[in-house]
Symmetry: C2
Subunit: 205 residues, 2 copies
DNA sequence: TTTGAAAACTTAACACTGTTAATTAACTTT
DNA sequence: AAAGTTAATTAACAGTGTTAAGTTTTCAAA
């Protein structure tokens, strides 16, 4: 059945086209400016056609997240070389901050907006590449404790703490809340200092 | 000029009415469900009337934030009794987590949404009660260092780290991202453990 | 090659959203 | 009472996500 396979392929191509153009749109203009009609206009289709390929707008955003996570994981391939858990964790944090600050629209979608998560709930599926990053974090923390560089504690708890901190930094920065604490031009520098402080502090004496 | 004063008072009353009803609305139905028309319907005025009292919707939300901060500060009055900086900081963190989890709609507005901040930028004014809370945090951190309970570091940096962490915890929880790390029923407990871990970790040995 | 069903796509419409300009109603001052 | 000022409204614009109904295209069987 070569013909049904080809049709399936075409369908997937249009799906990809929709996702690509959606991503371009919110990288260019931010999350709030992405509308079904604007996406449709870019791919030269009627707005309602999108509903033949995706359940609703949230589902489109959900799949855009996936590609965001891939982007994020790519940034972490350099990590493979670092073996010291603390240093590795530190570099992971630095990458996280940089990703957030360089791709605020992606970050917004992946971690701040609720839309993609409500799509996730309305679907059976999980969050493949999203979970992957969290697993990596847990493994490093565990490794650090095994090598007695971190004081022993429940791994999930420490992982949650570390993730929350870097997420807190990025999300407050993106939403201009850190300007209240330090001058705007010092925000990025101070964010990195905060990360340094955390790692220095949690390191076993 | 008793008459002009009375008119001014009436104007302020309607302003308050708008704000009260707006707050009720998003406590009941969440931020995204608050629309100008819904507010107007509740106070039995035409939607456009709101624009005679506020520049736009963002400005309404901005003033709702103010009342959120007041609510938050109220929760902190019990803090006055605690003199030990670490314990005080800990209780402050606990209050913060509780406020976020108990008033997710308020928290959303105050720290996650960008709308109120863009209103702030379009106004000359500052963020009176918002800044106040941050000052309190800085003072405690400074106090902890003075009393040699915390290792010396740039105060803004440590304050930013602590705030980011609790904000990260709350905002990830509100957006259902922590379910990816621990089962939903353990989220709240683990959040508090993360906070405990931070304070235990940052305490000078 | 023509027919007919299935798939792909579009048009029209609904019920919303924030916001502005023009218009009417109400109250104050002369 | 007439004129002027303020307050509130109606009508409208341009946009949003989404659904139902109608149209066009595709493609296998007769």
């Amino acid at each position: 059945m070569g013909i049904v396979a080809r049709k399936e392929k075409q369908k997937q191509e249009i799906r990809s086209l929709i996702l690509e153009e959606s991503m371009k749109l919110f990288v260019e203009e931010g999350f709030s400016k992405v509308s079904v009609r604007k996406i449709a206009e870019r791919i030269q289709y009627s707005p309602t056609t999108l509903y033949l390929y995706f359940k609703d707008k949230n589902e489109i955003l959900f799949y855009c997240c996936e590609s965001g996570f891939k982007k994020m994981l790519e940034q972490n391939i350099t990590l493979g070389l670092i073996s010291d858990p603390i240093e590795r964790l530190h570099q992971m944090g630095v990458n996280y901050l940089n990703f957030g600050l360089e791709n605020p629209e992606y970050y917004d979608l992946m971690f701040i907006q609720e839309a993609p998560m409500s799509a996730l709930i309305n679907m059976g599926a999980g969050w493949s590449s999203g979970d992957q990053a969290l697993e990596a974090l847990k493994i490093i923390v565990q490794d650090g404790m095994d090598k007695e560089l971190l004081v022993p504690f429940k791994v999930e708890t420490v992982a949650m703490a570390v993730w929350s901190m870097v997420h807190g930094l990025v999300s407050l920065a993106i939403r201009q809340r850190l300007d209240k604490l330090v001058p705007a031009e010092d925000v990025e520098k101070t964010m990195h200092e905060s990360l340094d402080w955390l790692l220095k502090t949690m390191k076993k004496a």
